[in-house]
Symmetry: C2
Subunit: 808 residues, 2 copies
């Protein structure tokens, strides 16, 4: 993004070729100069002989304007062809980056007015073949669109405008020659003002037969130049003083207004909005990150000191949602198509193609190049966010347990007992008991009450009156790179004593994540014995009643980016499934129904407890895998996806379920036995279409053999972050441990206090912020999360900045 208070920059796009783009760009330069401004002009890419180039036209008619051309091709065709013909090969994406870099550098040197004239139409291909509108998007310059006054010009102008707007450009003005015959100016003037508040200026100068488009070419150059000079004078002044001079005044005002909006954006938000998960008392208006726009890995953030926009790295992937960067044009187009085809259509008892396609891709009915996350599942339930997806998962799981272990068909006493206890009390001489979840300490599943209740108590839930914490949470051993080596570290636990020394060490991440191989180790037996003993105590001695095993596989995110030992999670799942005898006896004292036999059942039927994977954060390549099932070597009965699912664009989540879970809810035709949960926008086509496009992009990424992780170590534990860098960090003073998997880099700072509430990392985050890297706090843990297409240069810069700060 490029916006600086000291320079009023505009890019001039044409609705088509030959609509007068250079005339208007030259005229704008002249009018700006006439208004007393210093004016510079840039043609990033020019095709055709140099003496015919727009810059040379400008030199003739606006010699007071400094003009520059970045790239010049001699053949007057589209730049992508000119480039091919000049070099024999299509330039690669690096050349695009060079052009953008060149424009940005040029802009930074300007004062006053800067006019960037594009080549051809809105979508004319850049040298690399990329649409010019996409090429220039990182700068998001305020835009002047030159409309077409020809027959059909209404259509081409409007389509060009829509293409620009769907790439997030602000169009400050549409300029075109007046046309009495076709009235394009009148029609567009009314329409664009009404629908978008964009003013249309119909402008011309003295010309053949009147006032309008430029004169036709005169017999001699001298006459031609003279005629054009006269024309330009008229174009700038206008017949009634309303020529390009008035456009310049309008553009000056837009520039001023835009800066004023940016100046107040943070303060007004600070005063009127209520941020999620934020203590407002810790903020001042100056702390607010005012985001003008975003592209790829960066935000354009307002810098009050320089009164300009900075490119700030979105180092938390906008709360872990981004996977292909901000404002990806294919996701925008997918959203726009679905909006245009459906808007939203209700889902109960109905079907729409984007929802079905998404379901089939998640289940594997429509295969992709990577393992379907729900290959084991038979059903997809849609909701709006990770928290609602987990509420749905909990309802699915606990009701399945309740119907198997305390069936309605039981006695009156059983029926009463399994009724949700509306008020506390006792029943049958024993305390009424919750259907609890079995989970891990440090887990997080969302902020609605049901999702909160599936997490252990903390200082945060203390302040939520309705929080109950209905479960038991085990303390899981975790992986941590310490002094260059991957250790298994066990936290203190009331359930078992694994000692204080590391339970093991690995030479490589690959080894640590080779769960199948580790299943035969003594540690696996230790885990198995400890978990079995704990479960027996909980159910038999403590008389607790469990309805679900709930896990964030591999990494617990909000709980501090804890890299749980995958072997522990695998063994936990195996033990829970093996101990159906234990869970079936939970209601033994009052039981009157027999537990289903463990044999003779379909292998897809859930056993022991329904196993819920919360893959809201961990799934869909965040950790380098489509699903943690690939690492754990086992599948859940229910799993939740969100965040990356909808490409980091709009809210959407899914809860996948196996057939035996689904069947629980249609055992009878009674409506009350259905899963009575739903949100208005369930399976909204826009979200589903964006999710499908995201899966398509992931599919293409995996199919491309040049995708770095694929080449390096596909299927094994890998990371976008350099392994040697991670090991170096882990050896630094002040760093307790480090880890990296997939897109996630975690640095645990040495801090005795620890925990989420810690403010230990605040200094580091502030220092990085001044280097334009925005990270979110997470206690004494600092994490960085990239997208799946973050350029290597950004990764390297970020690593260097982190290492420098941590060493200092």
């Amino acid at each position: 993004m490029a916006l600086f208070a000291r320079v009023r920059a505009h890019q001039v796009f044409g609705a088509d070729t030959d609509v007068g783009k250079t005339i208007f760009a030259t005229g704008l330069a002249l009018a700006s100069a006439a208004a007393g401004e210093r004016v510079a002009y840039l043609k990033p890419v020019s095709t055709g002989p140099a003496h015919e180039a727009d810059a040379s036209h400008l030199a003739t008619f606006a010699p007071q304007v400094a003009s520059t051309t970045l790239v010049q091709f001699s053949d007057p065709v589209s730049p992508h062809l000119a480039a091919t013909q000049a070099t024999g090969a299509l330039p690669d994406e690096a050349q695009d980056a060079q052009i953008i870099h060149g424009v940005r550098q040029w802009l930074m040197q300007q004062h006053g007015t800067a006019i960037v004239e594009t080549a051809g139409g809105v979508h004319s291909p850049a040298p690399s073949g990329l649409s010019q509108a996409d090429l220039l998007r990182p700068l998001r310059l305020p835009t002047v669109l030159v409309g077409s006054s020809k027959l059909g010009g209404i259509g081409t102008t409007r389509a060009a405008l829509e293409s620009l707007r769907m790439r997030g450009y602000d169009i400050d003005a549409v300029l075109l020659f007046p046309s009495e015959r076709y009235g394009n100016d009148v029609y567009l003037g009314r329409l664009l003002e009404e629908e978008h508040g964009i003013p249309v200026f119909a402008l011309g100068g003295p010309s053949d037969g009147g006032w309008g488009a430029p004169p036709i070419r005169a017999p001699t150059t001298a006459e031609d130049v003279a005629a054009m000079r006269t024309y330009y004078a008229g174009l700038v002044a206008g017949r009634d003083g309303g020529g390009l001079g008035s456009v310049v005044r309008h553009l000056q005002k837009r520039h001023t207004d835009r800066l004023a909006e940016l100046r107040t954006l943070g303060t007004r938000t600070y005063e009127q909005c209520w941020w999620p998960f934020t203590q407002h008392a810790r903020y001042t208006p100056q702390d607010v990150m005012a985001i003008d726009s975003a592209h790829g890995d960066t935000f354009a953030t307002y810098n009050a000191t320089s009164q300009s926009l900075d490119a700030t790295l979105d180092g938390s992937a906008s709360w872990w949602t981004q996977c292909f960067g901000h404002a990806h044009p294919r996701l925008t187009q997918a959203a726009a198509y679905a909006a245009g085809r459906y808007g939203h259509v209700l889902f109960p008892g109905a079907a729409n193609q984007p929802a079905l396609d998404l379901a089939e891709r998640l289940l594997g009915t429509q295969p992709l190049a990577f393992p379907a996350p729900g290959s084991w599942a038979s059903r997809v339930f849609f909701s709006d966010d990770g928290s609602t997806a987990m509420e749905v998962a909990l309802k699915m799981a606990i009701q399945s347990s309740a119907r198997r272990y305390a069936p309605q068909a039981g006695s009156k006493a059983t029926q009463q007992r399994i009724r949700p206890g509306r008020a506390a009390g006792s029943l049958g001489g024993r305390p009424e008991r919750e259907w609890e979840v079995l989970g891990l300490q440090g887990s997080y599943h969302g902020d609605t009450i049901g999702a909160m209740d599936a997490c252990e108590p903390s200082t945060y839930s203390d302040h939520v009156a309705w929080y109950r914490g209905r479960g038991y949470w085990l303390a899981p051993p975790a992986l941590a790179t310490r002094n260059g080596q991957v250790d298994i570290v066990a936290p203190p636990s009331e359930d078992w004593d694994f000692g204080t020394k590391p339970l093991g060490s690995f030479a490589s991440m690959e080894e640590a994540y080779d769960v199948e191989k580790r299943l035969g180790t003594p540690l696996a037996d230790e885990y198995r014995a400890a978990i079995n003993a704990t479960l027996e105590r909980l159910v038999i001695v403590d008389c607790r009643r469990f309805g679900a095993l709930v896990l964030e596989p591999l990494v617990m995110g909000a709980g501090g980016m804890v890299f749980v030992d995958p072997l522990f999670q695998r063994i936990l799942i195996d033990v829970v499934r093996a101990r159906e005898d234990l869970f079936a006896m939970q209601d033994a004292p009052l039981r009157d129904a027999v537990s289903p036999a463990a044999d003779g059942r379909s292998p897809s039927e859930w056993r022991g407890l329904p196993v819920v994977f919360d893959e809201v954060f961990t799934g869909l390549f965040r950790l380098g895998y489509a699903s943690a099932t690939e690492v754990l070597g086992t599948t859940p009965d229910i799993a939740c996806y969100a965040k990356i699912l909808s490409g980091g664009l709009v809210p959407l989540s899914v809860t996948l379920a196996s057939s035996s879970i689904f069947d629980t809810f249609r055992q009878t035709p009674e409506k009350v036995h259905a899963l009575l949960h739903g949100h208005s926008y369930t399976a909204h086509p826009v979200g589903c279409a964006v999710a499908n496009e995201t899966l398509s992009l992931l599919d293409e990424m995996v199919r491309r053999k040049d995708w770095a992780p694929f080449q390096a170590q596909w299927g094994a534990a890998w990371s976008f972050w350099d392994r040697a860098f991670v090991e170096r960090l882990s050896r630094l003073d002040g760093v307790a441990s480090a880890m990296a998997l997939g897109t996630v880099l975690k640095i645990e700072l040495a801090d005795a206090a620890g925990g989420y509430a810690s403010t230990a990392a605040e200094g580091l985050l502030a220092a990085l912020r001044s280097e334009h890297i925005h990270l979110r706090p997470l206690g004494n843990v600092v994490y960085v999360m990239c997208s799946l297409n973050t350029p290597q240069a950004i990764l390297s810069q970020t690593q260097a900045a982190l290492e420098a700060q941590l060493r200092s």
Copy 2:
């Protein structure tokens, strides 16, 4: 939407004028005829002399094709100018509807192939001035786009394609003349195949100097015709057999595939998706409503019998979300712009313009033509749906009560007491008590556990293990039109005895909803006394502890469209606010902190209990008012909006809060005292931009003095449904009562069983379904909900269908 198995229909759009649209349309007709199909051709709107018209071109070169022109203007300019010049005035929207009707009628008469050739480019204005792409959208015909092979044609073709796709059109093929010079065909071929799977066919015939674009005009007509005939033969056959004949085969396949997708859409969804709030055992695959697309008030639904698409009325406004109909192009464009500018950007500690604009419009900082729903509020908290908005509201309200009435600053005993009870038990010799909500029987606030807990127990919550029902719910008197008269009907209650006769009757809805006037009536005193007595019993005798008053104002939606007596709700709010003495003593036995004095406080500070309005369903003109505050004459302390908020397109919700609520959460700089709630996509720019555009459309609607409700009785109780019709219905046998307010029509069927579980209405709904009216079941209540721009014709047809069915 127009799709019929027996007719392969295509509309031919041009990327620009003069790109060969008529040539390709004629060629397609010839190639289809050559493939043995019956072919018909339609030009909906034609400009220019009749003998130069495309239809006459077709008559010359494809005489075997039946060609029709619906509207012919003699002036060869854009239809909107031609129409103006022909009639002296712009045709109104009715003329658009006539054209669509004409095209649809024509299509229904066809077999084989039907080709509809549009005029000019994609956005060429229709006679009314509407973009042609928007005009034809209700039919959503499979589209062939003729691309431009000119210099700049890549840009115009791509922009045209994007404009078509963002209106939900499926583009089956792009046709254009080959061009070695510019290579548009090669570039577009690669790009469109890769990004959208759209094949590009570069086609031509023998022509001047080779094979390509049509020959230039020959000296005589005969020569000209002969040259063109030769050209067409080549265009159809192609040099290598790959001419338009191959395009026809591709289009035939797309037609077949499209029908196959539609045929299986319902079944595959039935087998792989899990519908919200639906008992799957009650469905067969044949029951599924397969929605191909939607526009305005209707779905295009697949009819397996006729193998075609029906226009089915979306009579539940897609679960109460629609307000300007499906696929409104302005909402699509707003979404696309925000997606292109931001994607999503995280919100905590940050700011983005769409979120701020939405906040300021809801709070009234940026005024609109109607009262700001949150004129009383100071803060906007964003989340994803009504249920999460209510979870946020409950956390806000209860925590505010807890901090006022049982402050942390108290003794150790107090602190222990106000800690959320993790397990049931007793404290200080008395049972630990919930912070409960005070609410109304029949209310509904969403399906997450916290939102469910704010509703009374029902047969549905019986089956949700973690449901607790933390509150007390009063039985509210309600309004019902019975035998042509609006009665106040009181349900039986344990709290008071209002008898079984109506508490009152009104000659008009206006009278019933004139709360201010009714405040002085004896009934107001009766309500006041009853509520006071009940509250005293609950707090003093039953020792219950309340943290919030939670209401769906005016109408309780999911609970059966109950039109609560607004006077009762007003008095309830007034009494709760007046009885701070009561709520302050809730913790008296263990109190050690003094309640804040009732005087000396800001009028904006909450009193008694925080009052929460759940306006998720009722707000933003669903009931004809921007907010129920306009009727009740009082404001809440917290309010929730969703559904209409985001224009019926994507999920978004807000919770508004007054400053005294907000301040509770920043009394200390401790993070744990903040409102610790957030979702990844909080304040996502796409949703906020769509919400802003929705508010703009509402604003324009209210400003238009011709808006029917505005003219009739702005500010008073009014309805889109005819009052006389409602009164007639209420007199029918089988109808217990009827009501209508704003967009909502409610019919309560006489059914002793009653309640949501009832299936009494199922027969009626099935009968209406066969008349292409889709309604959602709600026990013995049938309701219809329209948009704010539903045409009168649709309202009248729906009323007639309902009345006929109810009389039969």
